[in-house]
Symmetry: C2
Subunit: 301 residues, 2 copies
Protein backbone atom coordinates (compact mmCIF):
# COMPACT_ATOMS: atom_id res chain seq x y z
CA UNK A 1 0.00 0.00 0.00
CA UNK A 2 2.80 2.26 -1.32
CA UNK A 3 3.95 5.81 -0.64
CA UNK A 4 4.90 7.45 2.58
CA UNK A 5 2.01 9.82 3.24
CA UNK A 6 -0.96 8.79 1.16
CA UNK A 7 -1.76 5.15 0.46
CA UNK A 8 -2.37 4.41 -3.17
CA UNK A 9 -4.68 1.59 -4.16
CA UNK A 10 -4.14 0.45 -7.72
CA UNK A 11 -7.50 -1.28 -7.76
CA UNK A 12 -10.43 -0.58 -5.45
CA UNK A 13 -13.61 -2.66 -5.28
CA UNK A 14 -16.69 -0.95 -3.92
CA UNK A 15 -19.35 -3.52 -3.10
CA UNK A 16 -22.68 -1.70 -2.98
CA UNK A 17 -22.48 1.52 -5.01
CA UNK A 18 -25.19 3.42 -3.17
CA UNK A 19 -25.16 6.68 -1.24
CA UNK A 20 -22.24 5.71 1.02
CA UNK A 21 -20.26 3.44 -1.32
CA UNK A 22 -20.75 5.76 -4.26
CA UNK A 23 -19.82 8.89 -2.33
CA UNK A 24 -16.66 7.23 -1.01
CA UNK A 25 -15.75 6.15 -4.57
CA UNK A 26 -16.08 9.77 -5.67
CA UNK A 27 -13.71 10.86 -2.88
CA UNK A 28 -11.18 8.09 -3.61
CA UNK A 29 -11.04 9.22 -7.21
CA UNK A 30 -10.97 12.92 -6.34
CA UNK A 31 -8.09 12.47 -3.92
CA UNK A 32 -6.23 10.31 -6.44
CA UNK A 33 -6.01 7.47 -3.93
CA UNK A 34 -7.47 4.93 -6.36
CA UNK A 35 -6.11 3.84 -9.72
CA UNK A 36 -9.31 2.26 -10.90
CA UNK A 37 -12.56 1.54 -9.14
CA UNK A 38 -14.70 -1.49 -9.80
CA UNK A 39 -18.32 -1.35 -8.64
CA UNK A 40 -19.83 -4.60 -7.45
CA UNK A 41 -23.55 -5.08 -6.97
CA UNK A 42 -26.57 -7.25 -7.59
CA UNK A 43 -28.45 -4.85 -9.82
CA UNK A 44 -27.07 -3.94 -13.24
CA UNK A 45 -29.21 -0.83 -13.47
CA UNK A 46 -27.58 0.86 -10.48
CA UNK A 47 -24.10 -0.19 -11.61
CA UNK A 48 -24.71 1.25 -15.08
CA UNK A 49 -25.90 4.50 -13.52
CA UNK A 50 -22.75 4.60 -11.38
CA UNK A 51 -20.55 4.12 -14.44
CA UNK A 52 -22.47 6.69 -16.47
CA UNK A 53 -22.00 9.20 -13.62
CA UNK A 54 -18.27 8.48 -13.58
CA UNK A 55 -18.36 7.13 -10.04
CA UNK A 56 -16.78 3.82 -11.06
CA UNK A 57 -14.58 2.72 -13.96
CA UNK A 58 -16.05 -0.73 -14.43
CA UNK A 59 -18.55 -3.01 -12.80
CA UNK A 60 -19.52 -6.60 -12.25
CA UNK A 61 -22.28 -8.54 -10.52
CA UNK A 62 -19.78 -11.29 -9.74
CA UNK A 63 -18.30 -10.59 -6.32
CA UNK A 64 -15.36 -12.96 -6.77
CA UNK A 65 -14.40 -11.28 -10.01
CA UNK A 66 -14.89 -7.85 -8.49
CA UNK A 67 -12.63 -8.35 -5.47
CA UNK A 68 -9.88 -10.35 -7.23
CA UNK A 69 -6.78 -8.17 -7.58
CA UNK A 70 -8.36 -5.37 -5.53
CA UNK A 71 -6.02 -3.69 -3.04
CA UNK A 72 -8.90 -2.14 -1.13
CA UNK A 73 -12.36 -3.64 -0.81
CA UNK A 74 -15.09 -1.40 0.61
CA UNK A 75 -18.22 -3.25 1.70
CA UNK A 76 -21.06 -0.73 1.61
CA UNK A 77 -23.98 -3.14 1.86
CA UNK A 78 -26.66 -3.64 4.55
CA UNK A 79 -24.96 -4.83 7.77
CA UNK A 80 -26.72 -8.17 7.63
CA UNK A 81 -25.00 -9.02 4.32
CA UNK A 82 -21.43 -8.03 5.19
CA UNK A 83 -20.28 -11.26 6.87
CA UNK A 84 -21.85 -13.44 4.16
CA UNK A 85 -20.11 -11.48 1.44
CA UNK A 86 -16.76 -11.72 3.19
CA UNK A 87 -17.22 -15.46 3.62
CA UNK A 88 -18.03 -15.88 -0.08
CA UNK A 89 -15.17 -13.69 -1.26
CA UNK A 90 -12.42 -14.52 1.29
CA UNK A 91 -10.56 -16.97 -0.92
CA UNK A 92 -10.51 -14.61 -3.87
CA UNK A 93 -8.79 -11.83 -1.91
CA UNK A 94 -5.22 -11.14 -2.83
CA UNK A 95 -2.41 -11.04 -0.24
CA UNK A 96 -1.95 -7.53 1.16
CA UNK A 97 -5.53 -6.52 0.43
CA UNK A 98 -7.47 -4.46 2.96
CA UNK A 99 -11.18 -5.03 3.52
CA UNK A 100 -13.31 -2.42 5.26
CA UNK A 101 -17.02 -1.80 5.76
CA UNK A 102 -19.29 1.14 6.55
CA UNK A 103 -22.01 -0.47 8.70
CA UNK A 104 -23.85 0.99 11.71
CA UNK A 105 -23.01 -2.01 13.90
CA UNK A 106 -19.40 -3.00 14.43
CA UNK A 107 -18.86 -5.72 17.05
CA UNK A 108 -20.94 -8.46 15.38
CA UNK A 109 -19.54 -7.55 11.95
CA UNK A 110 -15.89 -7.38 12.99
CA UNK A 111 -16.13 -10.59 15.02
CA UNK A 112 -17.68 -12.39 12.08
CA UNK A 113 -15.37 -11.02 9.39
CA UNK A 114 -11.92 -10.88 10.95
CA UNK A 115 -11.51 -14.66 11.43
CA UNK A 116 -12.45 -15.19 7.77
CA UNK A 117 -9.47 -13.23 6.46
CA UNK A 118 -6.74 -15.22 4.71
CA UNK A 119 -3.14 -14.76 5.86
CA UNK A 120 -1.92 -11.22 5.11
CA UNK A 121 -5.37 -9.75 4.48
CA UNK A 122 -6.90 -7.41 7.05
CA UNK A 123 -10.47 -6.54 7.88
CA UNK A 124 -10.87 -3.09 9.45
CA UNK A 125 -14.36 -2.04 10.56
CA UNK A 126 -15.45 1.49 9.79
CA UNK A 127 -18.58 3.60 10.22
CA UNK A 128 -18.97 7.04 8.68
CA UNK A 129 -21.64 8.87 10.71
CA UNK A 130 -23.22 10.45 7.67
CA UNK A 131 -26.14 9.89 5.39
CA UNK A 132 -29.23 11.34 3.82
CA UNK A 133 -32.69 9.89 3.25
CA UNK A 134 -31.73 9.00 -0.32
CA UNK A 135 -30.20 5.83 -1.67
CA UNK A 136 -28.70 4.48 -4.88
CA UNK A 137 -25.73 5.58 -6.99
CA UNK A 138 -27.48 8.74 -8.21
CA UNK A 139 -27.71 10.01 -4.63
CA UNK A 140 -23.92 9.79 -4.14
CA UNK A 141 -22.05 13.09 -3.97
CA UNK A 142 -18.68 14.61 -3.13
CA UNK A 143 -18.63 16.11 0.33
CA UNK A 144 -21.01 13.70 2.08
CA UNK A 145 -18.36 12.90 4.67
CA UNK A 146 -16.90 16.37 4.98
CA UNK A 147 -16.81 17.43 8.62
CA UNK A 148 -18.54 14.23 9.75
CA UNK A 149 -16.98 11.69 12.03
CA UNK A 150 -15.94 8.26 10.87
CA UNK A 151 -15.35 5.70 13.59
CA UNK A 152 -12.76 3.01 12.84
CA UNK A 153 -12.69 -0.06 15.06
CA UNK A 154 -9.40 -1.97 14.88
CA UNK A 155 -8.74 -5.08 16.97
CA UNK A 156 -5.50 -6.43 18.45
CA UNK A 157 -4.96 -8.30 15.21
CA UNK A 158 -5.25 -5.27 12.94
CA UNK A 159 -1.89 -4.36 11.39
CA UNK A 160 -0.71 -0.77 11.82
CA UNK A 161 -0.47 -0.43 8.06
CA UNK A 162 -4.07 -1.49 7.47
CA UNK A 163 -5.37 0.82 10.19
CA UNK A 164 -3.35 3.70 8.79
CA UNK A 165 -4.55 3.05 5.26
CA UNK A 166 -8.23 3.00 6.24
CA UNK A 167 -7.71 6.10 8.38
CA UNK A 168 -6.20 7.90 5.39
CA UNK A 169 -9.08 6.86 3.16
CA UNK A 170 -11.60 8.56 5.45
CA UNK A 171 -9.42 11.58 6.07
CA UNK A 172 -9.08 12.00 2.32
CA UNK A 173 -12.88 11.92 2.18
CA UNK A 174 -12.93 14.94 4.49
CA UNK A 175 -13.97 13.01 7.56
CA UNK A 176 -12.67 13.31 11.11
CA UNK A 177 -11.45 9.86 12.12
CA UNK A 178 -12.00 8.50 15.63
CA UNK A 179 -10.49 5.18 16.68
CA UNK A 180 -12.63 3.14 19.05
CA UNK A 181 -13.06 -0.50 19.92
CA UNK A 182 -16.08 -2.10 18.30
CA UNK A 183 -17.91 -2.62 21.60
CA UNK A 184 -17.62 1.04 22.54
CA UNK A 185 -18.81 2.03 19.07
CA UNK A 186 -21.92 -0.12 19.48
CA UNK A 187 -22.65 1.29 22.94
CA UNK A 188 -22.24 4.89 21.76
CA UNK A 189 -24.30 4.39 18.62
CA UNK A 190 -26.99 2.52 20.56
CA UNK A 191 -27.41 5.67 22.66
CA UNK A 192 -27.18 8.42 20.05
CA UNK A 193 -28.76 6.67 17.09
CA UNK A 194 -30.34 3.26 17.70
CA UNK A 195 -32.29 4.27 20.82
CA UNK A 196 -33.76 7.38 19.17
CA UNK A 197 -34.95 5.23 16.26
CA UNK A 198 -36.60 2.74 18.63
CA UNK A 199 -38.31 5.63 20.40
CA UNK A 200 -39.46 7.33 17.20
CA UNK A 201 -40.98 4.17 15.72
CA UNK A 202 -42.69 3.38 19.04
CA UNK A 203 -44.02 6.90 19.55
CA UNK A 204 -45.58 7.02 16.10
CA UNK A 205 -47.09 3.58 16.73
CA UNK A 206 -48.46 4.68 20.12
CA UNK A 207 -50.10 7.80 18.67
CA UNK A 208 -51.52 5.73 15.79
CA UNK A 209 -52.98 3.30 18.36
CA UNK A 210 -55.00 6.15 19.87
CA UNK A 211 -57.19 6.20 16.78
CA UNK A 212 -59.49 9.08 16.04
CA UNK A 213 -61.29 11.92 17.76
CA UNK A 214 -65.07 12.38 17.53
CA UNK A 215 -64.96 14.05 14.14
CA UNK A 216 -63.40 10.87 12.76
CA UNK A 217 -60.03 12.47 12.22
CA UNK A 218 -56.96 10.54 13.33
CA UNK A 219 -55.31 11.94 16.43
CA UNK A 220 -51.90 11.81 14.76
CA UNK A 221 -53.18 14.45 12.32
CA UNK A 222 -53.24 16.95 15.19
CA UNK A 223 -49.50 16.79 15.47
CA UNK A 224 -47.54 19.90 14.55
CA UNK A 225 -44.05 20.72 13.34
CA UNK A 226 -42.34 19.54 16.52
CA UNK A 227 -43.81 16.08 16.11
CA UNK A 228 -42.82 15.98 12.46
CA UNK A 229 -39.20 16.81 13.24
CA UNK A 230 -39.26 14.46 16.17
CA UNK A 231 -40.48 11.49 14.19
CA UNK A 232 -38.76 12.07 10.86
CA UNK A 233 -36.40 9.17 11.64
CA UNK A 234 -39.44 6.84 11.86
CA UNK A 235 -39.45 7.09 8.05
CA UNK A 236 -36.15 5.17 7.94
CA UNK A 237 -35.96 1.71 6.38
CA UNK A 238 -37.71 -0.86 8.64
CA UNK A 239 -35.58 -3.61 7.13
CA UNK A 240 -32.33 -1.83 7.93
CA UNK A 241 -33.42 -1.12 11.48
CA UNK A 242 -34.57 -4.67 12.01
CA UNK A 243 -31.05 -5.75 11.04
CA UNK A 244 -29.46 -3.27 13.41
CA UNK A 245 -31.68 -4.68 16.19
CA UNK A 246 -30.55 -8.17 15.28
CA UNK A 247 -26.87 -7.26 15.35
CA UNK A 248 -26.78 -4.78 18.24
CA UNK A 249 -29.69 -6.10 20.30
CA UNK A 250 -27.82 -6.26 23.59
CA UNK A 251 -26.72 -2.63 23.55
CA UNK A 252 -30.11 -1.48 22.28
CA UNK A 253 -31.91 -3.34 25.08
CA UNK A 254 -29.51 -1.87 27.60
CA UNK A 255 -30.05 1.68 26.33
CA UNK A 256 -33.82 1.11 26.33
CA UNK A 257 -33.60 -0.03 29.96
CA UNK A 258 -31.75 3.08 31.00
CA UNK A 259 -34.04 5.39 29.07
CA UNK A 260 -37.17 3.77 30.52
CA UNK A 261 -35.75 4.05 34.01
CA UNK A 262 -35.29 7.79 33.51
CA UNK A 263 -38.72 8.17 31.96
CA UNK A 264 -40.25 6.35 34.94
CA UNK A 265 -38.50 8.78 37.26
CA UNK A 266 -39.93 11.72 35.35
CA UNK A 267 -43.38 10.15 35.52
CA UNK A 268 -43.04 9.60 39.26
CA UNK A 269 -41.97 13.24 39.72
CA UNK A 270 -44.99 14.49 37.77
CA UNK A 271 -47.34 12.23 39.75
CA UNK A 272 -45.79 13.37 43.03
CA UNK A 273 -46.01 16.99 41.86
CA UNK A 274 -42.27 17.49 42.27
CA UNK A 275 -42.27 20.12 39.56
CA UNK A 276 -39.07 21.85 40.64
CA UNK A 277 -37.24 18.60 39.96
CA UNK A 278 -39.06 18.21 36.64
CA UNK A 279 -38.00 21.69 35.60
CA UNK A 280 -34.39 21.09 36.63
CA UNK A 281 -34.25 17.97 34.45
CA UNK A 282 -35.70 19.93 31.52
CA UNK A 283 -33.17 22.72 32.08
CA UNK A 284 -30.26 20.31 32.13
CA UNK A 285 -31.45 18.65 28.92
CA UNK A 286 -31.99 22.01 27.23
CA UNK A 287 -28.44 23.06 28.10
CA UNK A 288 -26.99 19.88 26.64
CA UNK A 289 -29.16 20.13 23.54
CA UNK A 290 -28.36 23.80 23.01
CA UNK A 291 -24.65 22.97 23.21
CA UNK A 292 -25.07 20.76 20.14
CA UNK A 293 -26.40 23.55 17.97
CA UNK A 294 -23.12 24.91 16.81
CA UNK A 295 -19.55 23.82 16.55
CA UNK A 296 -20.38 20.15 16.34
CA UNK A 297 -19.02 18.30 13.41
CA UNK A 298 -21.05 15.59 11.82
CA UNK A 299 -24.33 17.43 11.66
CA UNK A 300 -26.59 17.13 8.73
CA UNK A 301 -26.70 20.59 7.18
Amino acid sequence: VGRAKKPYFKRVAVVGVGLIGGSLAIELRGSKMAGSICGVGRGLKNLKTAKRLGIIDEYTTDVLKGVADADLIVLAVPVSRTAGLVKAAANALKPGAIVTDVGSVKKAVVEACEPLMPEGVFFVGGHPIAGTEHSGAESAFAGLFKGRRTIITPTKKTSKGALKAVTQVWKAAGSEVVIMDAGTHDRVLAAVSHLPHMIAYTLVGAVADLGSVDNGEKIVKYSAGGFRDFTRIASSSPEMWREICELNGREIVSSLDYFMKKLSMLKADIKAKKFDRVQREFERAKNVRDSLKSGVKGWRK
Copy 2:
Protein backbone atom coordinates in the same frame (compact mmCIF):
# COMPACT_ATOMS: atom_id res chain seq x y z
CA VAL B 1 -70.51 41.47 18.38
CA GLY B 2 -72.44 43.04 15.50
CA ARG B 3 -72.81 42.11 11.84
CA ALA B 4 -74.16 38.96 10.32
CA LYS B 5 -71.09 37.31 8.90
CA LYS B 6 -68.03 38.73 10.50
CA PRO B 7 -67.97 39.81 14.12
CA TYR B 8 -66.58 43.25 14.67
CA PHE B 9 -64.86 44.10 17.90
CA LYS B 10 -64.64 47.81 18.53
CA ARG B 11 -61.95 47.33 21.10
CA VAL B 12 -59.68 44.32 21.48
CA ALA B 13 -57.29 43.74 24.36
CA VAL B 14 -54.38 41.41 23.71
CA VAL B 15 -52.76 40.44 27.00
CA GLY B 16 -49.26 39.23 26.18
CA VAL B 17 -48.09 40.67 22.86
CA GLY B 18 -45.61 37.94 21.98
CA LEU B 19 -45.38 35.58 19.04
CA ILE B 20 -48.94 34.28 19.35
CA GLY B 21 -50.72 37.35 20.75
CA GLY B 22 -48.87 39.68 18.40
CA SER B 23 -49.51 37.55 15.32
CA LEU B 24 -53.21 37.30 16.17
CA ALA B 25 -53.35 41.09 16.61
CA ILE B 26 -51.85 41.47 13.14
CA GLU B 27 -54.55 39.19 11.70
CA LEU B 28 -57.37 40.96 13.57
CA ARG B 29 -56.23 44.24 12.11
CA GLY B 30 -55.62 42.79 8.64
CA SER B 31 -59.08 41.25 8.50
CA LYS B 32 -60.65 44.46 9.80
CA MET B 33 -62.23 42.60 12.70
CA ALA B 34 -60.83 44.97 15.30
CA GLY B 35 -61.43 48.70 15.64
CA SER B 36 -58.52 49.33 17.92
CA ILE B 37 -56.16 46.97 19.69
CA CYS B 38 -54.72 47.60 23.12
CA GLY B 39 -51.67 45.61 24.11
CA VAL B 40 -51.38 44.65 27.76
CA GLY B 41 -48.17 43.38 29.30
CA ARG B 42 -45.72 43.61 32.16
CA GLY B 43 -42.77 44.89 30.18
CA LEU B 44 -42.89 48.35 28.59
CA LYS B 45 -40.08 47.56 26.19
CA ASN B 46 -41.98 44.80 24.40
CA LEU B 47 -45.17 46.89 24.32
CA LYS B 48 -43.31 49.83 22.80
CA THR B 49 -41.84 47.53 20.17
CA ALA B 50 -45.33 46.21 19.39
CA LYS B 51 -46.64 49.73 18.96
CA ARG B 52 -43.69 50.79 16.84
CA LEU B 53 -44.28 47.77 14.58
CA GLY B 54 -47.94 48.73 14.22
CA ILE B 55 -49.14 45.54 15.87
CA ILE B 56 -51.15 47.44 18.51
CA ASP B 57 -52.66 50.92 18.68
CA GLU B 58 -52.02 51.58 22.34
CA TYR B 59 -50.69 49.80 25.35
CA THR B 60 -50.81 49.63 29.11
CA THR B 61 -49.20 47.65 31.89
CA ASP B 62 -52.42 47.94 33.90
CA VAL B 63 -54.56 44.90 33.15
CA LEU B 64 -57.74 46.45 34.56
CA LYS B 65 -57.33 49.51 32.37
CA GLY B 66 -56.48 47.36 29.38
CA VAL B 67 -59.51 45.11 29.52
CA ALA B 68 -62.07 47.77 30.50
CA ASP B 69 -64.33 48.50 27.50
CA ALA B 70 -62.76 45.68 25.47
CA ASP B 71 -65.20 43.58 23.45
CA LEU B 72 -62.69 40.80 22.95
CA ILE B 73 -59.92 39.92 25.38
CA VAL B 74 -57.22 37.55 24.14
CA LEU B 75 -55.06 36.06 26.86
CA ALA B 76 -51.79 35.06 25.25
CA VAL B 77 -49.73 34.52 28.37
CA PRO B 78 -48.09 31.41 29.86
CA VAL B 79 -50.84 28.92 30.83
CA SER B 80 -49.98 29.19 34.51
CA ARG B 81 -50.88 32.89 34.50
CA THR B 82 -54.21 32.75 32.67
CA ALA B 83 -56.51 31.95 35.60
CA GLY B 84 -54.85 34.52 37.85
CA LEU B 85 -55.24 37.22 35.23
CA VAL B 86 -58.89 36.37 34.71
CA LYS B 87 -59.47 36.48 38.43
CA ALA B 88 -57.81 39.89 38.72
CA ALA B 89 -59.62 41.33 35.71
CA ALA B 90 -63.06 39.71 35.98
CA ASN B 91 -64.78 42.66 37.61
CA ALA B 92 -63.44 45.11 35.07
CA LEU B 93 -64.92 43.18 32.11
CA LYS B 94 -67.80 44.81 30.38
CA PRO B 95 -71.10 42.98 29.74
CA GLY B 96 -71.08 41.18 26.40
CA ALA B 97 -67.31 40.85 26.36
CA ILE B 98 -65.71 37.61 25.19
CA VAL B 99 -62.55 36.29 26.81
CA THR B 100 -60.42 33.70 25.08
CA ASP B 101 -56.95 32.23 25.53
CA VAL B 102 -54.33 30.44 23.43
CA GLY B 103 -52.79 28.00 25.93
CA SER B 104 -51.55 24.45 25.33
CA VAL B 105 -53.65 23.05 28.18
CA LYS B 106 -57.40 23.56 28.17
CA LYS B 107 -59.28 21.65 30.90
CA ALA B 108 -57.55 23.19 33.90
CA VAL B 109 -57.69 26.64 32.33
CA VAL B 110 -61.34 26.50 31.25
CA GLU B 111 -62.44 25.03 34.58
CA ALA B 112 -60.64 27.77 36.45
CA CYS B 113 -61.70 30.67 34.24
CA GLU B 114 -65.30 29.98 33.29
CA PRO B 115 -66.74 30.25 36.83
CA LEU B 116 -64.99 33.61 37.26
CA MET B 117 -66.92 35.24 34.43
CA PRO B 118 -69.46 37.91 35.39
CA GLU B 119 -73.02 37.60 34.07
CA GLY B 120 -73.10 37.99 30.30
CA VAL B 121 -69.35 37.55 29.78
CA PHE B 122 -68.06 34.34 28.23
CA PHE B 123 -64.77 32.54 28.45
CA VAL B 124 -63.99 30.38 25.43
CA GLY B 125 -60.80 28.30 25.49
CA GLY B 126 -58.71 28.19 22.34
CA HIS B 127 -55.40 26.70 21.23
CA PRO B 128 -53.78 27.50 17.91
CA ILE B 129 -51.40 24.64 17.09
CA ALA B 130 -48.71 26.89 15.73
CA GLY B 131 -45.51 28.47 16.87
CA THR B 132 -41.85 28.98 16.19
CA GLU B 133 -38.82 28.96 18.47
CA HIS B 134 -38.96 32.73 18.71
CA SER B 135 -40.77 34.93 21.19
CA GLY B 136 -41.61 38.58 21.77
CA ALA B 137 -43.52 41.11 19.69
CA GLU B 138 -40.81 41.38 17.05
CA SER B 139 -41.26 37.67 16.23
CA ALA B 140 -44.97 38.13 15.41
CA PHE B 141 -45.94 37.87 11.76
CA ALA B 142 -48.93 37.63 9.46
CA GLY B 143 -49.59 34.09 8.34
CA LEU B 144 -48.43 32.25 11.47
CA PHE B 145 -51.81 30.53 11.76
CA LYS B 146 -52.41 30.01 8.06
CA GLY B 147 -53.23 26.37 7.36
CA ARG B 148 -52.71 25.40 11.01
CA ARG B 149 -55.42 24.02 13.21
CA THR B 150 -56.91 25.93 16.10
CA ILE B 151 -58.82 23.89 18.64
CA ILE B 152 -61.68 25.67 20.43
CA THR B 153 -63.09 24.07 23.56
CA PRO B 154 -66.58 25.35 24.47
CA THR B 155 -68.52 24.03 27.44
CA LYS B 156 -72.26 23.59 28.00
CA LYS B 157 -72.34 27.13 29.32
CA THR B 158 -70.71 28.73 26.28
CA SER B 159 -73.18 30.87 24.30
CA LYS B 160 -73.52 30.16 20.61
CA GLY B 161 -72.64 33.76 19.87
CA ALA B 162 -69.37 33.64 21.81
CA LEU B 163 -68.37 30.35 20.24
CA LYS B 164 -69.15 31.70 16.79
CA ALA B 165 -67.22 34.88 17.40
CA VAL B 166 -64.08 33.08 18.56
CA THR B 167 -64.40 30.63 15.66
CA GLN B 168 -64.54 33.56 13.23
CA VAL B 169 -61.50 35.17 14.80
CA TRP B 170 -59.37 32.11 14.10
CA LYS B 171 -60.83 31.53 10.67
CA ALA B 172 -60.01 35.13 9.82
CA ALA B 173 -56.46 34.38 10.94
CA GLY B 174 -56.32 31.65 8.30
CA SER B 175 -56.67 28.78 10.72
CA GLU B 176 -58.78 25.66 10.39
CA VAL B 177 -61.03 25.54 13.44
CA VAL B 178 -61.81 22.29 15.23
CA ILE B 179 -64.32 22.18 18.10
CA MET B 180 -63.48 19.75 20.87
CA ASP B 181 -64.21 19.41 24.56
CA ALA B 182 -61.33 20.49 26.77
CA GLY B 183 -60.67 16.99 28.09
CA THR B 184 -60.31 15.56 24.60
CA HIS B 185 -58.00 18.42 23.64
CA ASP B 186 -55.75 17.65 26.59
CA ARG B 187 -55.67 13.94 25.78
CA VAL B 188 -54.87 14.58 22.11
CA LEU B 189 -52.20 17.18 22.86
CA ALA B 190 -50.68 14.97 25.56
CA ALA B 191 -50.10 12.36 22.86
CA VAL B 192 -48.94 14.47 19.91
CA SER B 193 -47.08 17.22 21.75
CA HIS B 194 -46.60 16.81 25.50
CA LEU B 195 -45.38 13.18 25.36
CA PRO B 196 -42.80 13.91 22.62
CA HIS B 197 -41.42 16.76 24.74
CA MET B 198 -41.14 14.50 27.81
CA ILE B 199 -39.33 11.93 25.67
CA ALA B 200 -36.98 14.44 24.06
CA TYR B 201 -35.92 15.99 27.37
CA THR B 202 -35.42 12.54 28.90
CA LEU B 203 -33.48 11.16 25.93
CA VAL B 204 -31.05 14.08 25.92
CA GLY B 205 -30.65 13.66 29.70
CA ALA B 206 -30.03 9.92 29.32
CA VAL B 207 -27.36 10.41 26.67
CA ALA B 208 -25.74 13.15 28.76
CA ASP B 209 -25.66 10.74 31.72
CA LEU B 210 -23.51 8.34 29.69
CA GLY B 211 -20.61 10.76 29.94
CA SER B 212 -17.57 10.46 27.74
CA VAL B 213 -15.70 7.92 25.68
CA ASP B 214 -12.00 7.14 26.25
CA ASN B 215 -10.77 10.13 24.31
CA GLY B 216 -12.61 12.36 26.78
CA GLU B 217 -15.20 13.44 24.29
CA LYS B 218 -18.82 13.42 25.39
CA ILE B 219 -20.89 10.63 23.88
CA VAL B 220 -23.63 13.07 22.94
CA LYS B 221 -21.13 14.68 20.52
CA TYR B 222 -21.26 11.50 18.43
CA SER B 223 -24.87 12.18 17.58
CA ALA B 224 -25.68 13.02 13.98
CA GLY B 225 -28.41 14.88 12.13
CA GLY B 226 -31.15 12.44 13.09
CA PHE B 227 -30.49 13.03 16.77
CA ARG B 228 -30.43 16.77 16.27
CA ASP B 229 -33.81 16.78 14.55
CA PHE B 230 -35.14 14.33 17.09
CA THR B 231 -34.17 16.41 20.08
CA ARG B 232 -34.73 19.92 18.75
CA ILE B 233 -37.83 20.20 20.95
CA ALA B 234 -35.63 19.64 24.02
CA SER B 235 -34.53 23.23 23.45
CA SER B 236 -38.02 24.44 24.37
CA SER B 237 -38.62 26.53 27.46
CA PRO B 238 -38.22 24.37 30.61
CA GLU B 239 -40.46 26.77 32.51
CA MET B 240 -43.29 26.50 30.01
CA TRP B 241 -43.06 22.72 29.95
CA ARG B 242 -42.99 22.52 33.71
CA GLU B 243 -46.27 24.47 33.69
CA ILE B 244 -47.81 22.18 31.10
CA CYS B 245 -46.83 19.21 33.32
CA GLU B 246 -48.48 20.93 36.26
CA LEU B 247 -51.71 21.59 34.40
CA ASN B 248 -52.00 18.44 32.28
CA GLY B 249 -50.16 15.98 34.52
CA ARG B 250 -52.83 13.31 34.49
CA GLU B 251 -52.97 13.01 30.71
CA ILE B 252 -49.20 13.24 30.40
CA VAL B 253 -48.74 10.43 32.93
CA SER B 254 -51.32 8.35 31.12
CA SER B 255 -49.62 8.87 27.74
CA LEU B 256 -46.24 8.06 29.31
CA ASP B 257 -47.70 4.82 30.68
CA TYR B 258 -48.97 3.76 27.29
CA PHE B 259 -45.75 4.69 25.54
CA MET B 260 -43.62 2.83 28.06
CA LYS B 261 -45.83 -0.25 27.74
CA LYS B 262 -45.21 -0.25 23.98
CA LEU B 263 -41.50 0.36 24.42
CA SER B 264 -41.33 -2.57 26.86
CA MET B 265 -43.02 -4.77 24.27
CA LEU B 266 -40.46 -3.75 21.67
CA LYS B 267 -37.66 -4.49 24.12
CA ALA B 268 -39.14 -7.90 24.91
CA ASP B 269 -39.39 -8.68 21.18
CA ILE B 270 -35.74 -7.71 20.62
CA LYS B 271 -34.65 -9.81 23.60
CA ALA B 272 -36.71 -12.77 22.39
CA LYS B 273 -35.31 -12.26 18.88
CA LYS B 274 -38.79 -11.85 17.42
CA PHE B 275 -37.42 -9.68 14.64
CA ASP B 276 -40.29 -10.23 12.22
CA ARG B 277 -42.58 -8.62 14.77
CA VAL B 278 -40.08 -5.81 15.34
CA GLN B 279 -39.92 -5.12 11.62
CA ARG B 280 -43.74 -5.14 11.29
CA GLU B 281 -44.00 -2.53 14.04
CA PHE B 282 -41.37 -0.39 12.30
CA GLU B 283 -43.21 -0.76 8.98
CA ARG B 284 -46.52 0.28 10.50
CA ALA B 285 -44.92 3.34 12.11
CA LYS B 286 -43.15 4.28 8.89
CA ASN B 287 -46.44 4.14 6.97
CA VAL B 288 -48.15 6.39 9.51
CA ARG B 289 -45.21 8.80 9.57
CA ASP B 290 -44.92 8.92 5.78
CA SER B 291 -48.63 9.74 5.58
CA LEU B 292 -47.93 12.92 7.53
CA LYS B 293 -45.42 14.24 5.06
CA SER B 294 -47.83 15.83 2.67
CA GLY B 295 -51.36 17.09 2.69
CA VAL B 296 -51.42 17.67 6.40
CA LYS B 297 -52.37 21.09 7.52
CA GLY B 298 -50.74 22.57 10.54
CA TRP B 299 -47.16 21.63 9.74
CA ARG B 300 -44.36 24.00 10.34
CA LYS B 301 -43.02 24.85 6.92
